[in-house]
Symmetry: C2
Amino acid sequence: MTLEQIGQRAKEAEPVLRVMDRKHKDQVLLCAAEYLIQDTAFILKANDLDMENGKKRGMKEGLLDRLKLTPERIEGMAEGLRQIAALSDPVGEIISEWTPENGLNIKRVRVPLGVIGIIYEARPNVTADAFGLCFKTGNPVVLRGGSDAVHSNKAIVEVLQKALESCGCPAYAIQLLEDTSRETAAAFMKLNQYIDVLIPRGSAGLIATVVNNSTIPVIETGSGNCHIYVDEDADLEMAVNIVYNAKTQRIGVCNACESLVVNRKIKDAFLPLLAQRLSEKKVELRGDEAAREAVPSMTEASEEDWGTEYLDYILSVKTVDTTEEAIGHINRYNTGHSEAIITENQEHAEKFLREVDAAAVYVNASTRFTDGFEFGFGAEIGISTQKLHARGPMGLEALTSYKYEIRGTGQTRG
Amino acid sequence: MTLEQIGQRAKEAEPVLRVMDRKHKDQVLLCAAEYLIQDTAFILKANDLDMENGKKRGMKEGLLDRLKLTPERIEGMAEGLRQIAALSDPVGEIISEWTPENGLNIKRVRVPLGVIGIIYEARPNVTADAFGLCFKTGNPVVLRGGSDAVHSNKAIVEVLQKALESCGCPAYAIQLLEDTSRETAAAFMKLNQYIDVLIPRGSAGLIATVVNNSTIPVIETGSGNCHIYVDEDADLEMAVNIVYNAKTQRIGVCNACESLVVNRKIKDAFLPLLAQRLSEKKVELRGDEAAREAVPSMTEASEEDWGTEYLDYILSVKTVDTTEEAIGHINRYNTGHSEAIITENQEHAEKFLREVDAAAVYVNASTRFTDGFEFGFGAEIGISTQKLHARGPMGLEALTSYKYEIRGTGQTRG
């Protein structure tokens, strides 16, 4: 099938999904969950092929683990769809309503975004998850997964399309680019006529490629070079706990802490305490000169360290004299994701909240909370690090737009 | 000055504007209005140069008129800034606030978008207007105007920068690319490091160039191929008035009606009435066969007519059998701008409102109302025809994003 045909089919599905009521959509999601369970053997067989190919090509253990499906993981995918069915439907919500001087009744009403393209890597569970979120919000989705997972993705999409048809829905509410070549991906990113929004999910490299090559509007879900600033008025025990949590609870995620900023006045009291605690997880500390005075075992940080998202048991340590200087450092090196201050000083806290430019700014809490589920959204399509459309954790609402419904009584413009 | 330097200066102005309070911003806007008035002679002299060059190059009357400045037009620019000062400031608004199970207090707070790039053509009044809207919302702006207006734009920007400095503001809250070459424009559209959003304002060609070449997120302000559907249950007198208004009140604007869709059951009663009324303005009608049966003087419409935004005294006429068919035709050919149905039938009206995919959908009113001032926004940066971020008339709110301010008491993630 050509890209053109895929685009046309998505556009044909669009008006059907746009006006589908919540009850029908939820039935389809529950039915899709059932089909995944029923067809577990079929999906696992396809996944075996991907796993074999991956091993032959010398894929690393970590990647193989992300690629692998098991009956439990497929049950997890099905459970994900059931949870999405249980969420309330943002489509149709009247966001606001007013009557200006011209006497028109204006309603701003939430509607689906349109056809959504999702470009991702070798995690087949994203296939079902992305479908669930897009379908719930009335958006047809076109998926471009990694070549490593192509057999698994094809099988999952085939099962979901069967489920859609059995419920009287257009099967093309979900489609997969089976051709995973770079050329096709490049052409896909310029399919403005059919695709309304592109969402890349994956590594920084993947996201940069999409941002630089797409002519379709992109929602950038990005990397997180997250800082925690321990202020002179911090509760040091709280600070140790929060930094330990944000650095080590899960190292490979975008909301993990990568850099510590510490006030000079407390560095000698705080850094040895922290170093001791982080030694439990063998975290490497890379500090500036003042930090290394407090903890001599620390290695020397280079300019490059301030801008690095390690995703590893490494933490950079920068010493500052004031909250102002901390904010300046963070605004220079952060990626607009999550930043925290630990302080009992109300004035410093408010200044930090106001002046730090990031999606989520915390006082006395771990950066690890930047997450759609922790925020109570019940779902997450990604964490936006751009300022247009959606910022921070994106739930169902981020997959909607709005339109104006205007009711008149014959008004003309004078 | 290099693009890099311009970008850096905008980024330096950004944190200052981000936290500037409303009172200070409004003082600056009023002061800028004063400076424009005081320096009228200086601006007019620069404009004379652009007008002379334009005449030499054989610029058309209409374009020369848009380029021309007069003391009245400069007073209009100043008055525009005063009006923006009087609007309420969306920045700092707490959009929502909640506490999920983890006990964190989460506030979603409105913040500026960042550095805004605006690319426009030969209308120097846009220079002051864009500055006013961006400054009010705390966003530094970098302008790239047309080469035809470069002297006028330079003079206006110089005056505004003087006003900014006199109020203790960074002058680089507004900057102009004085180099109006295509190469510099192309490089400007890839300045992702410094520019957060690009807004093109102008012709369809300009907008397409920006969409296709920018790697920075773009807010597309687009063309309007707007339809009015006159239903079988329409009040025909109302329909004549609304179509007459939407077609002829101002022909060169994006919310003018370009195409009439008419129900076959009333075409013989309605079309001759309409043709007579439109003859007052010598509107050319281009119809399908059924429409031409009702008004034999009508010329024949081609496939191309259905997709054309005439911006002229021309109206295409398509006959349909049902509301369903009207919606199908409109969703195929419209540009997502403004669409209307004229009907007394509630069911048809609701179906049309729900199923037509456009920024503004009207029942019994002229499409000409799609406008930030008519909507009561008090300002307008453009009319978005995309679904991401902002749709329809964009007021000050469209120039903002949000951040999450999160207050904890030591929470870590389990």
